[in-house]
């Protein structure tokens, strides 16, 4: 979704949350997912992804790629 809707976005795993950088802004609160940092593409509750997409103003695009 990020590749399509937020090209250039970068996910930075931190100790407690993922930070997502895009367009000069940072989303600080994306959960690490059910299995924390040990797994790539961990499942993250869609509500959090929706809030992040709204923050980056890419929600309409994100909804075309995910069931948000």
């Amino acid at each position: 979704m990020l590749d399509a809707c937020a090209p250039g976005a970068r996910i930075e795993p931190r100790e407690h949350r993922n930070w997502v950088h895009y367009n000069g802004q940072t989303y600080y609160g994306l959960p690490l997912g059910k299995h924390g940092k040990s797994r790539q593409n961990a499942e993250i509750q869609k509500g959090h992804v929706k809030k992040m997409a709204r923050f980056f103003e890419i929600l309409p695009c994100a909804q075309q790629h995910l069931n948000l």
Binding site: R14, E15, H16, R17, W19, Q25, T26, Y27, Y28, G29, G47, H48, K51, R54, F55, E57, L59
Partner: protein, 158 residues
């Protein structure tokens, strides 16, 4: 949609790498009910959100989430100056879509469409601020109760 314009105050004591900092925040958040869950979205600071089964649960989770973001900032900061810079960046990064809804929610309060008698009221134009203080000498008198959460109401006309 059920939504509330929230003003909140928090004081947090955060341990960093070689320092202790007190973070005093007076910010804004949007509390709303979506899909049978309550969500609190940060506006200032922006870039995080939390949910709960009820409005009180969502606000409590929001406060805990704020602490967790500060923990991550502290872990990545080599010193107090770096911590202060990142916390201030975090705070002043406005969540514009949520701010748009927050302002609409203030109008809903004015029009009587929203009432939250479980919250105290504060003017919507109450100042927002972040203050990051290096704690050189801890003193008990610095312990203060934070403001908690309030619902933003339209400011009185001058």
């Amino acid at each position: 949609m059920e939504r509330y314009p929230i003003l909140f105050g928090r004081h947090e004591l955060i341990e960093g790498n070689g320092f202790i900092a007190r973070v005093e925040v007076h910010g804004r958040a949007l509390l709303s009910n979506e899909d049978d869950e309550y969500w609190a979205e940060g506006i200032n600071p922006g870039g995080f959100a939390a949910k709960g089964a009820g409005p009180g649960d969502a606000l409590a989770a929001f406060c805990e989430e704020l602490r967790v973001v500060l923990f991550d900032i502290a872990l990545g900061a080599s010193d107090f100056a770096a911590f202060k810079t990142e916390v201030e960046r975090f705070f002043w990064q406005t969540n514009q879509p949520a701010l748009h809804d927050w302002e609409a929610a203030v109008n809903d309060v004015r029009d009587g469409k929203v009432s939250a008698d479980w919250l105290i009221q504060k003017p919507a134009d109450s100042p927002r601020s972040v203050n990051v203080v290096l704690v050189r000498q801890p003193k008990a008198v610095n312990n203060q109760e934070a403001d908690g959460a309030a619902i933003a109401v339209p400011p009185k006309a001058a």
